[in-house]
Symmetry: C2
Subunit: 470 residues, 2 copies
């Protein structure tokens, strides 16, 4: 196990994110603390999606014949599908698949729903569990057999252009989402051989974990008319003809939580962006024998104020244990802000505030008039500083190279993301992946001037990224 892998497992356990001891490989239990982070993270995404998507909920089980309809699609998933074959002691007439993703559950219904051009666009999303019989080594939140937080959006359009616009819109949605989490990312168009099975093309978001490997955290697929043809999703045009609809889909998974943990965490443990922290503020009374009740009373009022007036998630830790132990625990659990209050602080009209992101302590004036506003401001600063720090470190880890030797050296020494010029040819790309034992993430940009492919030497305009990947 790598150092990061060890750290990651330790955090999952000590910060009570998930319990990995569930007796089915690759399936885990969300613990209360982890569930809260998941809930607040999903709240952010829901709020963005709700602006112009409708939330729906489709069944988990997909009949064998529907799953098989789209040949390219099913080929991409057939090795990974869990099959329900029996109900009670009876063998089912038709096997049922646990959804690996929901195209084949949704699109037969879309075929019934879509009638005419003015019905479109339609934009739906759902938050569900999906299943993949992973044969590779599983890892909690990263490579699992039950994905519990699959948030998949599916849209239907009446023109190619509108479909393409939606891809752009989806990219903006995920930018907004990951920015709210202070998670840095690169956006690339995946190579042909790595696109979603059945899609015209796939755009992906990748972030970087502390061990130098990238993690795919979001994907956007332009499905063109492929699925519409297979599932007969047609609309009547203004002139009365019937045409196949254009579709997109895009999704994120539990990996978003893995990236929050991996990107922001440090030697002291978890470090949570205030918007998704289970508790945003913890108050630790510093108690000596003298004045104990006054300090507790003061802290209780502070808690009420922050909760009721500040609308914050706040916890008063009045347990009868050493303050040092409390500090350790709350730092481990990543609570963004800690307020320490002792008898002397009350006398002096002061409070001690620790920001988890930089572990800096500051003594500041306590003014009941401006208190909640002040705390709010500090939390906002923490969010901004976390974003600044994570992007800075991320950008440092994207390095351009001009030949394969350099690429190999960079990857071996530092990991991270390598930027290079590529011809775009599949056989060249596959060769490069094999030689360097990396994955091509995809094309980030088309350069204006023609350069030379670092692998085959042919003309190259595609500024492309590669990395070791999860």
């Amino acid at each position: 196990m790598s150092k990061f892998s060890e750290w990651f497992h330790k955090i999952l356990e000590e910060a009570e994110i998930i319990d990995t001891r569930y007796p089915v490989k690759g399936m885990h239990v969300w613990l209360p603390q982890g569930f809260k982070i998941r809930r607040y993270t999903l709240n952010i995404l829901r709020k963005i999606l709700d602006e112009d998507h409708d939330e729906v909920l489709f069944p988990l089980l997909i009949p064998e014949d529907e799953l098989a309809k789209e040949a390219i699609h099913v080929k991409g998933f057939e090795d990974e599908v869990y099959w329900v074959t029996h109900g009670g002691l009876t063998e089912l007439n038709k096997k049922l698949a646990l959804r690996p993703t929901s195209e084949t559950a949704m699109y037969p219904m879309f075929s019934l729903w879509v009638r005419t051009h003015s019905d479109l666009p339609l934009k739906f999303y759902q938050i569900v569990n999906t299943f993949r019989y992973e044969t590779k080594h599983t890892r909690p939140l990263i490579r699992v057999r039950e994905i519990t937080t699959f948030t998949e959006a599916h849209t239907i359009h009446n023109s190619k252009e509108d479909g393409e616009k939606q891809v752009e819109r989806a990219i903006e949605i995920y930018k907004q989402f990951f920015n709210a989490l202070a998670i840095p990312y690169v956006i690339t168009t995946r190579p042909e051989w790595d696109k979603f099975p059945g899609a015209d093309y796939t755009v992906a978001f990748d972030t970087l974990m502390p061990d130098g490997k990238t993690l795919q955290i979001g994907t956007v697929h332009n499905l063109g008319q492929t699925f519409a043809r297979t599932f007969d999703i047609t609309y009547e045009t203004e002139s009365g003809e019937h045409e196949y609809a254009y579709q997109t889909c895009y999704g994120i998974s539990d990996r978003v939580i893995a990236s929050i943990i991996g990107v922001h965490g440090d030697q002291s443990g978890l470090c949570l962006p205030p918007d998704v922290a289970s508790y945003q503020v913890v108050i630790v009374p510093i108690i000596f024998k003298k004045g104990k009740e006054e300090v507790l009373e003061f802290c209780r009022k502070m808690e009420d104020t922050l909760r009721d007036k500040g609308n914050l998630r706040v916890y008063l830790d009045d347990r009868d244990i050493r303050a040092g132990k409390k500090f350790y625990e709350w730092e481990m659990r990543g609570v963004p802000l800690r307020i320490e209050i002792g008898a002397r602080d009350i006398q002096n009209g002061e409070m001690v505030v620790l920001s988890r992101n930089n572990l800096q302590k500051e003594t500041m004036k306590y003014d009941p008039q401006t208190f909640t506003g002040k705390i709010d401001e500090i939390l906002k600063n923490i969010s901004q500083n976390m974003a600044h720090k994570s992007w800075e470190s991320f950008n440092k880890n994207i390095r351009p190279v001009s030949n394969t030797d350099e690429a190999l050296e960079e990857i071996s020494k530092h990991g991270g993301i390598i930027s290079f010029n590529w011809c775009g040819n599949k056989s060249c790309g596959k060769d490069l992946e094999e030689k360097l034992r990396v994955d091509i993430l995809g094309v980030q940009e088309i350069s204006k001037e023609e350069k030379t492919c670092i692998n085959c030497g042919n003309p190259a305009k595609k500024i492309t990224l590669l990395s070791r990947t999860y």
Copy 2:
């Protein structure tokens, strides 16, 4: 199909609650309108449970051997369990069950979590899909093969008394929840032969559908130490011994949504309690050629005010179709309050308001100063009136009888709930159920004086309810 059954299916379709055309029997699609009602309903329950429960999320799949551990429990479910036997093309070493309920998924983990008396009580809940291979006739939201809204709470205690107190607390939780939905209920202790498999006893909530049949909408189970023994959930007592923990569990399902539809609906369609309505207020501009833009402008401001200042879910229906058609649609969809605004209303400083629950229209003064407060007040009144009406009608349909002939006549003529004196004997109860073709819901109360059992004539102190059931 009964008249109610026909009405119910029509509402599900026309009010866009769920789509029943999904190609697996007993599994349905939540449509945007239905999903919103489901979301707001769950928000109410979540808010109550969050006060002293932790939300968690356990895997869907349960290994065969864990499911089989508790013999009485598995016997209750074995005919109904869906089995996953294959991952990809590989046969699994160990079959995996789709959870029919989560005791056997959770309790092996509880065994790892519970250590000492001071850890207890622990109270968890999760909102998940569960599966039952129903062989009876399926009905959307009422008898389904995928329950999509299973909200199950599980608690662990360090004394029998604390477990019993939790049963009382759970009953209070559900009272609060159903009261918020204006759903009337009876609470009974289920007869031995109808309790949850493995429970010491089961307390259930039943409401009444318009066809005179009762619908079980919530259950609370005292599990005693049965599962703790099976799954080895022990705690260290203060004196250092190890004792088996005491457990309870309680749950509700999609049937809550069915009851909202059934209890409050009428000939005009759905009628939603304001707290769970997808839209709480719809504004319909009454437009003639003259003054169209002013009316629309006025309505837009009204919409913004209600949304931003009143924090209400509001929809301005400015579609270019007849107002009458809009009225029909919004009544069908159950929107609690409709505001109609025409040019003359604006001149007169008036508005026309229709309350969906009694379909009464009222012209009232429009005063921008008090507007949102007024609307809020009307919505509160609607909630209260809905509760009053539903309880009144419900209570009328609970009738005491003093012999089996009377019971038979009442049930045949009116349906509803019959109250009677019962000896409590199993063979007598089963005989009565068979004779009257009904189900004994359970014991509601123990009477102070001894009466006579209406079936066997033996001494009877148990005031018991029976009905035709879903």
